[in-house]
Amino acid sequence: MTRTLRTSRVAVAAITATLLAATAGLHGQAGAKKGEWPTYGGDLGHTRYAPLDQITAANFSTLEVKWRFKTDNLGPRPEFNLESTPLMVGGRLYSTAGTRRSVIALDAATGELIWVHGENEGARGQSAPRQLSGRGLAYWTDGKEERILYVTPGYRLVALDARTGNPVAGFGRGGLVDLKEDLDKQKLDLVNAPVGLHSTPIVGGNLVLVGAAFETGANPRSRANVRGAVRAFDVRTGKLVWTFRTIPQPGEFGNESWENDSWAYSGNTGVWAQISVDEELGMAYLPVELPTHDYYGGARPGNTLFAESLVAVDLKTGVRKWHFQLVHHGVWDMDIPCAPILADIVVNGRPIKAVAQPSKQGFLYVFDRVTGQPIWPIEERPVPQGDVPGEKYSRTQPFPTKPVAYERQGLAVDDLIDFTPELRAEALKLIEKYRIGPVFTPPVVSRAEGPIATLAMSTQAPATNWPGGSFDPETHVLYVHSSAQVAQLGLVPPPEGAAPDVRYHQGTVLSGARRTGGSGSATTNAQGGNINGIDVRGLPIIKPPYGRINAINLETGDIVWQVAHGDTPDVVKNHPALKGLTIPRTGRNGAIGTLVTKTLVIAGEPGYGPTPSGARGSMLRAYDKRTGADAGAVYMPAPQSGSPMTYTLNGKQYLVVAISGGTYSGELVAFALPN
């Protein structure tokens, strides 16, 4: 269903036609070019960089809202989690939005709606494992035609005419390719098979690449599930060109790493994060997630390639060129969550085409993207072993020697809250019944007498999640937001109804009716509330910063600066136990994407927080990209929920960011300097 608004069509078509020639050949790893933002990550290497310089530290705080677009009525109800990064090509801004993941085309100068396309997928949409508006879409042109491509919640790839929003008749069947068909030769229920995708497709070399996402993997119904795979389709016809199997079958490289024939039934191992492409090298970079079950690997013994691996494939054929497994036999939910960032750098005088992978575990893995060789050695080191029945742990895990981890990992006494000696003492008391340790300390079977769980940062509660980072191709500095937050890694027997081949689910003895037979647990206390079992009087059990932006020089491997990102939450600032203390800016945790421009790093604060006016909302902040010094902030009525992008139109630089959360439904907001 497409509705075209006649008033805007003619004018924007004219602008589009004028600019069309300029949009061909726009991809690369040097940031967004020509003032546009033609792909999710700014370019196919996900640098999230634009060399625009109108908005600077001198004027950032004077930015004003130029237009807003509210997404409430694009679906049957408002959406509160708008994660899109819009695209801007030829004066039009494109985005997914709304609960049905509609596609909208707006006038990029005014926000006026030009067309909207939506698919009502009925039961198929309702049963989708990855619902809502998704992360955005892809744009393609050959200089004549222009297309928008996106994946619906029900897992169908749709090609639209970018001018009109109408499905492209010659693509698939009436503009649609059913992605549940021909997924690595699996027979799937087209309505209920639990596979979908919320990341965007990516177009490179006239192919559109699509991954797969599933229900979250803490509580699988069975050890068996749909297998993820990555596929490439002809962008003109929608015809399947190649499939890369993330779970190799007998006779294929890596199959032997699935012990006890676990390859035969295991599923997941999809690519739910953004894929990156180097058209010049003719390669695509696939960030792969875990196999079935994020925390217990008893049913999938072995290293299970290509789980948790960065895999480089030939763009034209899908044939593997190299891979590197970041985690062996993972039990920490360390899916690779975000785009590999392609970066051309010079290390010790040697030019290198590199790929840098931020991660949930707070390591930045940097490779030569041609060969897969680490830029700095990545060492296999012994790691703590666990005692969960049926589990077979990897004795070692890969540790990058450089850069050092950009976020805290695991949990140590020194990480605990230390605003006052009393709070530290309470934290020490609290962790007595938990296991703590360095990175890769495995989960435990939860016991009331202890250990209740393993407590760890940078695992399930990740350092970096799906928004990933940014890279400045001029200064060769990479920017990435990270969160410090503690996850409870415990295992409990699954509830009735789970398949007998599932031995554990994630949880603790302190939670869940299925474990305790009723309400009531050790999670309450009198004042402040022990609000998730591991807080101290309502304060995070760890000391700040709770979230920060990290700048890492990719040529030296050194961290250049780190700043706490986000003003101290009122619930910390005003805590009765902290009266009289001066609390520095703590930063806040959350999934936050960054944007780099000629002089600034720009990102919204996570969640709601104190604002200068006192109004409920969150600040969009800028930092001097060389030093991390504050470079201004502007008010937003809700926190950033997508990642910011920028473009120039008619001589004016715009910043657009998707905001939503809490009581505030999804909205795109465009900022620019006053006229």
């Binding site: 959406e79 509160f80 939910d333 869940g512 009723g518 309400s519 999670t523 939450p569 619930v571 809490g662």
Partner: protein, 139 residues
């Protein structure tokens, strides 16, 4: 009674009533233990798959307890949180839970958050929660 005096007394009483109502927070024993137990079962069936058994959140859905969650809702009326649940959750079948069921689940969330129970269950009727404020710390 003089009509003007009567009107003034009424206004005063109404004012006092409003003041009493608007000063209620989640610390005032606004749900019952029994209700939270019902809510815990409902939560496990309808919510835990995405938000996690411990309410700690998972990859696809945020935590429903903890400092970050309560910082986001601090100072809001409980009605706003209730309405958000009622209109958008569970994600695979929004609006499929009754007001009473949503109230039970909210009671479980408050119980997990460490807020005390009281003698009466939380009332899920429209408007009933608009005078209760979310405060992480006891006023």
């Amino acid at each position: 009674m003089d009509r003007r005096v009567f009107a003034s007394v009424c206004l005063l009483l109404a004012g006092l009533g409003l003041a009493a109502q608007s000063s209620r927070t989640v610390w005032d024993g606004i749900y019952s233990e029994e209700q939270a137990a019902r809510g815990e079962k409902l939560y496990a069936d309808r919510c835990g798959k995405c938000h996690g058994d411990t309410l700690g959140g998972q990859e696809a859905a945020p935590a429903l307890t903890g400092t970050t969650f309560y910082a986001n809702w601090e100072g809001e009326a409980l009605e706003a949180l209730f309405d958000r649940m009622r209109s958008t959750m569970p994600q695979d079948k929004p609006g499929s839970l009754s007001r009473a069921q949503n109230a039970d689940i909210l009671a479980h969330m408050l119980h997990t958050g460490g807020f005390p129970a009281g003698p009466m269950p939380l009332d899920g009727q429209a408007g009933a929660l608009s005078t209760i404020t979310i405060r992480l710390y006891k006023p």
